[in-house]
C-alpha cells in the first residue's frame, strides 16, 4: 500500500498541476470547456491520494482484483473519452475553417470587383471634369 510520504508527494503534485491548469484558464490559453474534464480527473486523483482505502472499495465494487489494475483501466477509458471528444471538436473546427475560408475568398473577390468599379468610375469622372474644363 501507499506510504504517507508517497501520498503527500502525489497530493502535492496534483495541487501543482491544478494551479497550472487554473492559471492557463485565467490567461485564456486553455478553454474552460475542455479544462473541465481535466479538473474532474484531478479531483478524483486527489481524493484517491488522500484516501487510498477508497480504491479498494471501488475496485471491489467493480469486481476488479487489484486496485492498480483499476487505475490503469479507468485511466485508459478516460483518455479514450478525451481523445474522442477532441476528434469531435476537431471535426467541428475544420468545418468552421472551411466555411470561413470560403466566405473570405468570396468576399475578397467582391471587394476586388468593387475596387475596380470604383477606379473606373473615378477615371470616368476625371475625364468628365477634363472635358468640362475644355469647354
Amino acid at each position: 500500500m501507499m506510504t504517507v510520504k508517497l501520498q503527500i508527494v502525489i497530493a502535492a503534485a496534483i495541487l501543482v498541476v491544478f494551479a497550472v491548469l487554473i492559471n492557463m484558464i485565467r490567461r485564456k490559453s486553455l478553454e474552460l470547456k475542455y479544462a473541465l474534464s481535466w479538473m474532474l480527473v484531478l479531483t478524483a486523483l486527489f481524493v484517491f491520494a488522500c484516501a487510498p482505502w477508497l480504491l479498494n472499495v471501488v475496485s471491489e465494487f467493480l469486481g476488479i482484483y487489484a486496485p492498480v489494475n483499476m487505475i490503469f483501466f479507468l485511466g485508459f477509458c478516460f483518455s479514450l473519452l478525451i481523445i474522442f471528444t477532441l476528434t469531435v471538436a476537431l471535426s467541428r473546427l475544420s468545418n468552421s475553417v472551411r466555411t470561413l475560408d470560403q466566405i473570405v475568398a468570396l468576399n475578397e473577390k467582391k471587394l476586388e470587383e468593387l475596387e475596380q468599379a470604383l477606379e473606373e468610375e473615378k477615371a470616368k469622372n476625371q475625364n468628365h471634369i477634363a472635358d468640362n474644363e475644355q469647354e
Partner: protein
C-alpha cells in the same frame, strides 16, 4: 440561362491557362471561375497577371472545399447551371454545350461526362478502372441507379443541386459520394459519353497507400449516404 464552369486549381499553373482558353474558345456560352486552393506554384500570380476570373482560398481546403466554393459562388451569383472542369487538361470544353443541352432535354438535375459509355479516349489505368467499376456496382446495389463513371470530375448540375452542394459537400474524394447524396434525394442523374485526355500537368492525388484509404473512405461514405436516406 446563366452557365458557369468551376475550375478547381491546386498547383496547376502549367495547364490552367490552356483550360481557360479551351473554355473561352469551345464553350463561349459559359462563364468560368478559377478556385485557387492555396497553390504554392504561383497559380495565384498567374490568375492576377492574366486577369482571370478567380477566387483565392487562404487555407488549403482540398478538392471538395474548393469545388464547393465554386458552387457557393455560382449559387450566390444567380447561375442556373454549374459544371466542374479540371484544370489539368483532362477535360475537353467541347462537351460542355452538349452536356448543357442534355441537362435541359432530359430535365436532369445532374449530367456526368462519362468515359465508359463509348469507351473512347483515355480510359484510366487498369487497376483504376476496376475501382471505378466497383463504385459503379456499389452505387447500383445501394440506389438501384446506373452510373457508369461515378468518379468523373466533369459534372454539370442545375440550380437545385447547386444549392444542395453549396450547403454540404464531401471534403476529400467527393465525386462518388456527392452523386449518391443527390440520388438519395430523388434527383435525376444522366450521363453523356465524353472523351478525356491523359492529364497534361500535375499528378493524380491518389497513389500508394492513399489508394487503400480512398477505396475504404469512399465505400464507407457511399454506405453512410444510403443510411441517411
Amino acid at each position: 440561362m446563366k452557365k458557369i464552369v468551376i475550375i478547381p486549381a491546386y498547383n496547376e499553373s502549367g495547364s490552367l491557362l490552356q483550360a481557360v482558353k479551351d473554355i473561352e474558345e469551345h464553350a463561349p456560352g459559359f462563364d468560368y471561375l478559377v478556385v485557387n486552393d492555396c497553390s504554392t506554384d504561383g497559380t495565384l500570380e498567374l490568375c492576377r497577371k492574366e486577369k482571370l476570373n478567380y477566387v483565392n482560398l487562404s487555407v488549403n481546403l482540398g478538392i471538395g472545399g474548393a469545388v464547393q466554393t465554386g458552387y457557393l459562388y455560382a449559387y450566390q451569383n444567380g447561375y442556373d447551371v454549374a459544371v466542374q472542369f479540371d484544370g489539368d487538361g483532362q477535360h475537353d470544353a467541347r462537351y460542355l454545350e452538349q452536356m448543357a443541352e442534355e441537362l435541359e432535354r432530359t430535365s436532369s438535375d445532374m449530367v456526368i461526362g462519362s468515359r465508359f459509355i463509348e469507351k473512347e479516349g483515355f480510359q484510366s489505368s487498369g487497376l483504376r478502372r476496376v475501382g471505378i467499376r466497383y463504385f459503379s456496382l456499389l452505387i447500383r446495389l445501394l440506389t438501384g441507379k446506373r452510373v457508369t463513371d461515378p468518379t468523373s470530375g466533369m459534372r454539370m448540375v442545375n440550380r437545385d443541386v447547386m444549392g444542395i452542394y453549396a450547403e454540404s459537400y464531401p471534403k476529400d474524394y467527393p465525386e462518388p459520394e456527392s452523386v449518391v447524396a443527390i440520388l438519395r434525394l430523388g434527383k435525376k442523374v444522366t450521363e453523356v459519353p465524353v472523351v478525356m485526355r491523359e492529364r497534361q500537368g500535375g499528378v493524380s492525388s491518389i497513389h500508394g497507400f492513399k489508394t487503400i484509404y480512398y477505396m475504404i473512405k469512399v465505400t464507407l461514405a457511399i454506405c453512410m449516404e444510403r443510411l441517411r436516406g
